[in-house]
Symmetry: C2
Subunit: 315 residues, 2 copies
């Protein structure tokens, strides 16, 4: 049976679309995919194969004609995308394999091949402004210690810090967030242990972002301020990535699913900086973008470090 | 030969004072003492024994009558201070052993036993307000991901983020800090590898704080702003720890050795919040405080989770 798959491997979850002659099947799995803050190829491969297998509703990995995996860590943190491509070829039998940065697959999912800027905000953040031709502007994507400003780990970290500030009696503390920490972790020592001694600090931090959303919806001004700041930071990254492009903006990644909390300040902050901006809701997600990328191998001529392709005639 | 030792084990260095009948010898070693962001007792013991041996100018660990080690991670991150005390007793032959939080030893070093607030700012930050009797207010000390606001890792992280913002063309970037990153790490990938794949993220972050100081001294407004914010955060922690005490404030830890950059905004921010505050330069450092603690075992009746003592009559 002829089949192709698009996969999006994020910091806290995986999405896959498998396209059969008879139609598409989708799956979304939530789990920490990157341990110890490093991104290793083996875990990307495992996550992708598992998601494709589930999306195909099969017991064993299906045999595919082509597969494209978009993942965090590209460009920059993944040392050898060719090794990931080779492993995917072996495990899924696909002749045509692409390994792309999730900035690229999210862009293609959101804007469907149109030039513009897409900010991908999940656990981490990366913005890509591109015309899929000569212009490739990438901003942020520097990880939870050095950047990813406005992303899930950033929001969770700010929320947890505000909870601890409240416990200390320091300025800027939040009682509702302190209550959320107590519910989730018990004593602060439980929180410290999970964040500092756990396998994936960024996953642990991002896991608190929903509690920050809940507190904001409940009217907590500290929590609301964190989401406003996040929208502002994401807008800064998006606007910086728009250099040399028509000002068309969209987004992807799990974080924007919190709705108005993030979307409103993001829109406002982009329009403040670029009054002519057009801001559109995304057409599809990173898995859709990965599938679309399989149809557009000419992109590979320009995508540089965002893409490793093998088995494509003009790759 | 009768000897006692006081040791201060911080995130990026160790200080020791060994007191012989003939006088005192001191040593200061700089190195990352805590790996992988966790604090394990074995590394505290190794660091302390090495520093005491060097301070004694001996080839092998000296035999001591008494030793007190102040360390980060207490209270909270060190699970078993009794195990550290037992190891120190074995390795140094001391009958009387104390293992204290560095907040307490820094307090005793800086204020010499007077009630008040001392903020310990090195790689991390912890403030302690105490009268060494019933009042024990501790603020921050939550580590580089959740707090330690205004400390060395916090300053370095902000400086590195500002460098990457500059490279992205985002708002809030700093060209001098970007140049410092290029000198130190080459391409950003070199920085990412060291921070995310290294043994001690907080040490790596804090190691950039001197570059932020240099940029501030050179007139970079972004770098100056980071130090101003740091002074403000440290003041917030100090003021919160002053509840129920006379408003006497001091500080300890390596970070204040940058001089006016930090001390001026700290003083200003404390006085803005507590106009009656008295702010005094520290009498001594954490190693002095550890030595002093050996003379004041009655403190142990009150110090609770800040102190584990064994071999003292009223401990």
């Amino acid at each position: 049976m002829s089949a192709r798959a698009g996969v999006d491997v994020g910091g806290s979850g995986v999405r896959a679309v498998v396209e059969f002659a008879t139609g598409r099947r989708r799956v979304r799995l939530t789990r920490p995919t990157h341990r110890r803050a490093t991104i290793d190829g083996a875990s990307v491969v495992e996550a992708a194969v598992e998601a494709v297998t589930q999306a195909a509703d099969a017991e064993h990995p299906p045999r595919l004609d082509a597969v494209c995996v978009g993942t965090t860590g590209l460009p920059g943190l993944i040392e050898d995308p060719a090794a990931i491509a080779a492993a995917l070829r072996d495990r899924l039998g696909a002749r045509r394999v692409m390994v792309a940065g999730d900035a690229l697959t999210t862009h293609l999912g959101a804007l469907g091949g149109r030039p513009g800027v897409v900010v991908a905000a999940g656990t981490g953040v990366i913005a890509l402004g591109t015309d899929l031709g000569p212009v490739w502007n990438r901003t942020d994507g520097w990880g939870h210690l050095l950047g990813d400003e406005g992303g899930g780990a950033w929001i969770g970290r700010r929320g947890l810090a505000a909870a601890l500030r409240h416990l200390d009696g320091r300025a800027g503390g939040s009682a509702p967030l302190a209550a959320a920490v107590a519910t989730r972790y018990g004593e602060p020592a439980g929180l410290l242990g999970r964040v500092y001694n756990g396998d994936s600090p960024s996953f642990e931090l991002a896991a608190f972002a929903p509690a920050v959303a809940e507190a904001a919806h409940g009217g907590d001004p500290v929590a609301s301020g964190i989401w406003r700041d996040a929208g502002e930071r994401l807008a800064e990254s998006a606007v910086a990535a728009a250099a040399g492009l028509e000002p068309l903006f969209s987004w992807g990644g799990g974080l924007f699913r919190t709705g108005n909390l993030l979307e409103d300040p993001f829109r406002h902050a982009v329009l403040t900086r670029v009054p002519a901006a057009r801001i559109v809701a995304p057409d599809g997600d990173g898995a859709d973008g990965a599938l679309r990328l399989l149809d557009h191998p000419p992109v590979t001529r320009h995508a540089g470090p965002f893409l490793h392709a093998s088995g494509f005639d003009d790759a």
